[in-house]
Amino acid sequence: MRTILVILRKEFIQVFRNKGMLPIIFALPMVQLLILAFAVTFEIKNINLDVVDQDNSPVSRELISKFQGSPFFNIRNFYADYDQASNDLKSGRAHQVLIIPQHFERDIYKENKAKLQLITNAIDGSAAALMNAYGLSIIRDYNKDLIIEKMGDNFFTEPITISYSYWFNPELNYITYMVPGILVLLVTMIGIFLSGMNVVREKEIGTIEQINVSPIKKYQFITGKLLPFWFIALFELAFGLVFARIIFHIPLLGSVWLIFGVAAVYLLAVMGIGLFLATVSNTQQQSMFLSWFFMVIFILMSGLFTPVENMPAWAQHLNTLNPIAYFIRIMRMIMLKGSGFRDILEPFAAIIVYALSMLSLSVWRYKKVA
């Protein structure tokens, strides 16, 4: 026990002596939380629309005014022909072009049928789908108005009404969704990177050999290496939670203790990963690259940005090996829905198993020989 305390002291001195690292460990995560929370959104507003109105009739003008009135659209330019609008699409100044052909008004009244074109830059597929949906719904609503104007109010009768409500996040605020995930991310980074780097650093500088020849036991060394970052990460989580509460007004419906309980175990799991990666690599560069590689895959698969349920089955199976996915799920459940211990039992058990196996794996892998 005394030995562990001595190693702990050494590690803490090393961490706090490094003046360059301190702001990076403490200030940057907060900045990240701020930027991330605001940057990450799939909402679409301010669609830049170019209009090519070749008809120039009351009907076409009225339709355009509907687009003008929509909060989603932002009409940039009126052009006489498509070539100019196409230039805007190419240069990225416009996202969408609405083309109303000649005789639009005549066709609609004479032939009961008129065509128009909506051209979308679809490089970002999901955004394009949304832009289309917004555009189409404006056109459809206007179409309905036209029909009612001509045929009278009773033309449409719709017996089924659909009412809907959004629970846990009635305003569909994306920030509320992202912040719990981002907190997990910040904690994970400290867990995986710093702990691993720390061990490799000793390897690289050669001081690990001095420790190897000392009577310090394997488990003492590893505990001493991990605990400081364990504390730092938990501290940062607490800080982040307060931050989320004050700045973003993210509710914390569940129990704080539950969050910390899970986080404590989770950190052991990710530190185990970091340590394991450290034991298999010889330089800090290598260890960093390895951790970065796993980190990116874990993050992308974790459901932080895109829901896990939308992934193909094999990807979801792969996710059983992904600690971040479990913790993000738990975090969101506890913070946003107020889930209790019984609700999170399943992912929590997975994290416990993970922590145990990762730690024993890295203890086994770490050899006290150079």
Binding site: N18, G20, M21, I24, L28, P29, Q32, I35, F38, A39, V40, F42, S91, I108, K113, A114, K115, L116, Q117, I119, T120, A122, I123, D124, G125, S126, A129, G135, Y142, N143, I147, T157, P159, I160, I162, S163, Y164, Y166, W167, F168, L172, Y177, M189, M197, I205, Q284, Q285, M288, F293, V296, I297, L300, F305, P307, E309, N310, R332, M333, K337, S339
Partner: protein, 347 residues
């Protein structure tokens, strides 16, 4: 070595296959107070759409909260009592949808899908009368008619990797020499600082370039992602971007004394903004103005615009000279800064 080449491959494949925003087989629960033929028909319609999977039949309102909290259900659909009779007699019935909006995006999509399926059913009920005055919108999806998400991600991944390999690796490898003390040996040698730096940097240029090519090939052969514009122009632009990233890497290494610090700096200051503020995954237009402004000083943003323009839109230099100029300018700036900061002597 394996990592350097394996990583881009795995990432592109992952992105291409696994990352998607389309909802399918979402878990729903149904609370059917009516249990008559209409409510059953609507349920049938919903389940056969492919978007939904029924995991639970609820019997009372009290169960709703519980099944949301366990996370097993994303949406609950409630049919009111004596549904079919009301529909017949009073021409007025209500269906209530409750969505778990802790994931707002999915919640929104689910409600939209459900609403449109029920509306379709309703339209069948009314027996479509011939509607007059139809506007027929014709939709055209430019540059990515299949709405494939890979098209969006490949340019982003190329950018991130170039940034990672060039900026991060250089900064760390120079910081490493400093830390281990071998930098001193190099400095007292007859080599001039510029030679040291160029020598350190060239391997990474080659590496980054090979990686970019690998991704392009993969995108082309596996996902059918075309290069519409000039390949030569694309490679030239990549070279400028790589140079920019390298000079940024050198700059980072001059201000940090240890590998750990260089790594954390490039990790936090480079990687996350590169991924988040560059328009790689999240459209910049939707961010708050401050962040939009901030994104302008992120070099990757401009490079992603260039790559997308050349690969997907097939435009030439005439459309992207501004972006090219910005990256070149940043490149010069970083070089100038790091030349000023580069110390020939150690403290």
């Amino acid at each position: 070595m394996i990592i350097l080449f394996g990583m881009p491959l795995v990432q592109v494949l992952l992105f291409g296959f696994a990352i998607s925003n389309d909802v399918k087989d979402a878990n729903i629960a149904i609370l059917d107070h009516a249990k008559d033929n209409v409510s059953r028909e609507i349920t049938q319609k919903l389940l056969s759409s492919g978007y939904f999977k029924l995991v639970k039949d609820l019997s009372s309102e009290n169960d709703i909260g519980k099944c949301f909290r366990s996370g097993k259900v994303k949406e609950v659909i409630i049919f009111e009592n004596i549904f079919a009779r009301n529909l017949d007699k009073e021409k007025k019935v209500n269906i209530q949808l409750i969505a778990d909006a802790s994931d707002p995006n999915t919640a929104n999509l689910l409600v939209n899908y459900t609403t449109s399926i029920i509306s379709d059913y309703q339209r069948e009920l009314i027996q479509d009368k011939q509607l007059p005055l139809q506007i027929e919108p014709e939709i055209k999806l430019l540059y990515n008619p299949g709405l494939k998400s890979v098209f969006m991600f490949v340019p982003g991944i190329i950018t991130v990797l170039l940034m990672l390999i060039s900026a991060m690796m250089t900064s760390i490898s120079i910081a490493r020499e400093k830390e281990l003390g071998t930098m001193e040996v190099l400095l007292v040698s007859p080599l001039r600082p510029i030679q040291i730096v160029v020598g350190k940097v060239i391997p990474y240029v080659i590496l980054a370039f090979t990686d970019a090519l690998t991704i392009l090939l993969l995108g082309y052969f596996v996902f059918g992602m075309p290069v519409q514009g000039s390949l030569l122009l694309l490679l030239a632009e990549s070279l400028i971007f790589i140079l920019m990233a390298l000079s940024l890497g050198i700059l980072i290494s001059t201000v940090s004394d240890s590998q750990q610090m260089a790594m954390m700096l490039s990790m936090f200051a480079l990687m996350l903004p590169t991924i988040l503020l560059s328009g790689f995954i999240f459209p910049i237009e939707n961010m708050p103005v401050v962040l939009q402004w901030l994104s302008n000083i992120m070099p990757p943003k401009w490079f992603i615009i260039i790559v997308k323009a050349i690969m997907l839109k097939g435009v030439g230099l005439a459309y992207i000279w501004k972006e090219t100029l910005i990256i070149s300018g940043m490149c010069l700036l970083f070089i100038a800064l790091s030349v000023r900061k580069f110390k020939i002597r150690l403290q």
